[in-house]
């Protein structure tokens, strides 16, 4: 309001500003300029960051599949002819790879696809190695399929997939030992026949990690689950402990040297580098308490220790912000101190506590360093069971998955890593939106 009257009055004003006023006004407008510049710089950074992550990572949400009829030859898959699951299990993925190969060769011949300089290696490399494992699992689940011809949707090699996402070009393929222009031409020909298509990739969100040879099948399924389990542990442990500790310190504890020492230590803990909590976790939870390695329960405990100071500091600040008159009024009408805290002070402090908790959780969600030492930076392929047992099974975590994938040799993993960052950012965004929503909702009660 004052802005408007000031700028409106400037032209018509008869006031001649003295040098001192002009100087002050100039200083003010300079300061506004600095502030605006700071905001612009940070916005530009954010846009650049988001742009690089999105351009690099959106590809992970789309995946190229090939759809071919596969004849499950009984002579190769079930020599005994009994359809006995134990006998079928003896047939390894290698054989299924050959069956897929025969199916692809047949499809190429049937459609009359001709590609110059197409080597055996190019044809063999088109289908992902993951496909034979998937086909084997499908047959094991339903042995009756043996002998039939089934339409099968198989993943294609990461390089061919990269070709349709612009990561691989004909020029780079010519120099690339893992693909060739002929292989890409074959893929183009299959696409023209409608057998090959790049579609939305749900499996990126549900599949586990995969080894270096098959980036096309890698997903963040276990990482999401592991992160969720850890957040569950953090939430269940750190909120009651943190809130109880702060209520005691703020409302009940006598103000003496001991509480001062505790207070200094808590503030100090909040600033301790997170790797230190990892060392503590390794010593206390794995070596001393004998908890399993790579388990979300240990990760959750370590992150709880890390989050506690943040929650305690935020909760104490929120409790302090409640006017003393509220407490006095409650005590005045005969409430006990506990009643005054739980009926009046805590509900009013809740928005602040929630914000602190969610900020602490978000910080914990993105943490990698403490997990390094407790064996969670690992290749995990089996999904953990449902909680509470699953808390003790090996699992990965989202930031760990990003870290792991950026170290892999195949450039396709870089795309996966950016994709995992997008997933992580979406989770953080949801958490922050929830914090804002809850704060707004509770703040109306003032």
């Amino acid at each position: 309001m004052s802005d408007a009257t000031f700028s409106g009055g400037q032209k018509a004003s008869l006031l001649v500003a003295d040098p001192h006023t002009r100087k002050r006004n100039a200083a003010e407008s300079r300061f506004r300029g600095y502030g605006l510049a700071a905001i612009i710089v940070s916005m530009v950074m954010l846009v650049v960051l988001l742009f690089t992550i999105l351009t690099g990572g959106l590809g992970a949400f789309r995946q190229t599949y090939l759809e071919i009829p596969v004849t499950l030859d009984a002579a190769q898959l079930d020599k005994s002819g009994t359809r006995d699951p134990e006998a079928i299990k003896k047939v390894l993925t290698l054989t299924y790879g050959k069956i897929l190969q025969q199916a692809l060769d047949k499809a190429i011949a049937d459609k009359g696809i001709q590609v110059a300089d197409l080597s055996d290696k190019d044809r063999a490399g088109l289908i992902s190695k993951e496909a034979s494992a998937q086909l084997r699992n499908r047959v094991l689940a339903d042995p009756e399929l043996i002998g039939q011809t089934v339409e099968t949707r198989v993943l294609v090699n990461g390089r061919v997939d990269g070709y349709y996402k612009g990561r691989v070009s004909m020029e780079s393929a010519a120099r690339d030992g893992n693909t060739s222009p002929a292989q890409l031409q074959l893929a183009d020909a299959l696409k023209a026949q409608g057998m090959l298509a790049t579609t939305w990739n749900w499996s990126f969100l549900t599949m586990p990690d995969s080894s270096d040879q098959r980036p096309e099948s890698a997903g963040v399924g276990i990482a999401i689950l592991g992160s969720l389990y850890m957040m569950l542990v953090v939430l269940v442990l750190s909120v009651p402990i943190g809130v109880a500790a702060s209520i005691y310190l703020e409302e009940f504890a006598p103000k003496n040297r001991w509480t001062d020492i505790i207070e200094v230590n808590i503030s100090n803990l909040a600033a301790v580098p997170s790797i230190v909590f990892g060392i503590l976790g390794l010593a206390a939870f794995i070596n001393f308490a004998g908890l399993p390695q790579s388990a979300p329960i240990v990760g959750g405990l370590v992150l709880t220790l890390m989050t506690l100071p943040t929650i305690i500091i935020a909760t104490r600040a929120a409790l302090k912000a409640v006017p003393p008159s509220i407490r006095d009024a409650a005590l005045g009408v005969g409430a006990s101190r506990m009643q005054s805290v739980f009926h009046h002070v805590l509900p009013l402090a809740l928005p602040g506590i929630l914000t602190g908790t969610i900020i602490g959780l978000a910080q914990a969600l993105g943490e990698t360093a403490p997990l390094l030492l407790i064996g969670m930076v690992a290749f995990v392929k089996n999904f953990p069971a449902a909680p509470p047992d699953g808390l003790f099974d090996p699992a990965s975590a989202l930031p760990v998955q990003v870290f792991n994938w950026t170290q892999r040799a195949d450039p396709a993993f870089m795309e996966r890593a950016s994709g995992a960052i997008i997933v992580l950012l979406v989770f953080l965004l949801c958490m922050n939106l929830l914090a804002i929503f809850l704060r707004r909702k509770f703040e109306r009660r003032w």
Binding site: G242, G290, L291, Q407
Partner: protein
């Protein structure tokens, strides 16, 4: 201190329930980042083709892995350590002190170390002596020991391209660094004749360490991260030359150009024949005391070195591992559970 106490008591409750939880049923592996891709490939295939769960594989480096391996025997210690170098005597002693007495050493094959530069850059034909002269802190010039004066490759040898010297070498925490020092720098020191001059001027021992000392004026950059970091550095500094594992190079042939050493181009074939000089064996170590305790441990070790996996036609060779010509001996040793000599 309060929250720490509280959470320790919370932990006690959880630990009590944890001890009731079932025994660990998956194999745990940790160690060398060079062996990691091979180990994950095998773990994945093992999980797919057997009824055992897929082993959990951690990275972290050979030394870190062996340290964890030697922490003791029991369910919350790892079963297998991957290593890109043989276990040291000091590590064996640490193992023994912690009760890890029966260790099986399994050699899975050989890995080549290659020198590669940006795809659009110059071609290089190196010798080990070139690398010594380019990166050593002190070199011999006209019969005298001088601080390394070279700034361009062409100053070292006229037929090398006129390009600034800039090398990205693995940091000291990597097993690769030892191989690089031993098979390239020290070999180059001898090859160029500098070793003799150093030994004469500084004495036997100081001469040897002078051979290994790398220059610190920014021409030789230690990379503590992985090969992906080396690649990123080369892409931003186009005249840099990086040290990579053969399998990493083979996955990035569209971005990197490999240099020859002594006229030999690195490949699985030339390494298998012993023509390419810079290679080293890769190992994993099995805690024999865990066989029988941890389901599938022996099966995993046998699966790892089987012909279908580690043989010349297997997936590991396809990824860049040089198959061990004596694989049959290794297979037999694993089947018989032969442990290392004390």
């Amino acid at each position: 201190m309060k929250p720490a106490q509280l959470s320790v008591s919370a932990l006690a409750v959880i630990a009590a329930t944890a001890s009731v939880a079932s025994a660990r049923d998956q194999i745990q592996v940790a160690g060398s980042s060079t062996v990691l891709p091979y180990s994950t490939i095998v773990a994945e295939a093992f999980g797919e083709n057997t009824d055992f769960p897929t082993p959990v594989v951690e990275s972290g480096g050979s030394s870190a892995g062996l340290k964890k391996f030697c922490e003791g025997v029991g369910e919350n210690t790892i079963d297998i350590a991957n290593s890109s170098r043989p276990i040291k005597d000091s590590e064996k002693e640490a193992c023994k002190a912690a009760g890890v007495t029966d260790i099986m050493e399994v050699r899975i094959g050989y890995d080549g170390i290659v020198f590669a530069s940006d795809i659009a850059g110059n071609d290089f034909q190196f010798t080990a002596a070139d690398w010594f002269n380019a990166l050593a802190a002190e070199v011999v010039k006209d019969g005298k020991v001088v601080a390394n004066p070279y700034t361009k490759w062409s100053e070292i040898r006229a037929d090398l391209p006129e390009q600034e010297i800039l090398a990205f070498v693995p940091g000291t925490k990597h097993g690769t660094r030892e191989v690089f020092e031993e098979k390239v720098i020290a070999a180059g020191c001898k090859e160029s004749g500098a070793a003799e001059v150093f030994a004469k001027e500084k004495g036997e021992e100081d001469g040897e360490s002078a051979c290994m000392a790398l220059r610190t004026d920014g021409k030789s950059v230690d990379i503590d991260g992985d090969y992906t970091e080396t690649l990123a550095r080369i892409q931003s500094a186009k005249n840099g030359i990086g040290v990579f594992g053969l399998s990493f190079y083979e996955n990035n042939t569209d971005k990197l150009k490999v240099a020859t050493i002594g006229g030999i181009t690195p490949s699985t074939e030339t390494i298998a024949k012993g023509e390419y000089p810079v290679s080293r064996p890769l190992f994993f170590y099995v805690k024999k005391q865990h066989i029988g305790e941890i389901q599938g441990l022996k099966e995993f070790a046998e699966f790892f070195v089987s012909d279908e996996i580690a043989g010349p036609e297997g997936p590991l060779a396809a990824y860049g591992l040089v198959a061990d010509p004596e694989l049959a001996t290794v297979q037999k040793a694993v089947a018989d559970e032969v442990t290392m000599a004390e």
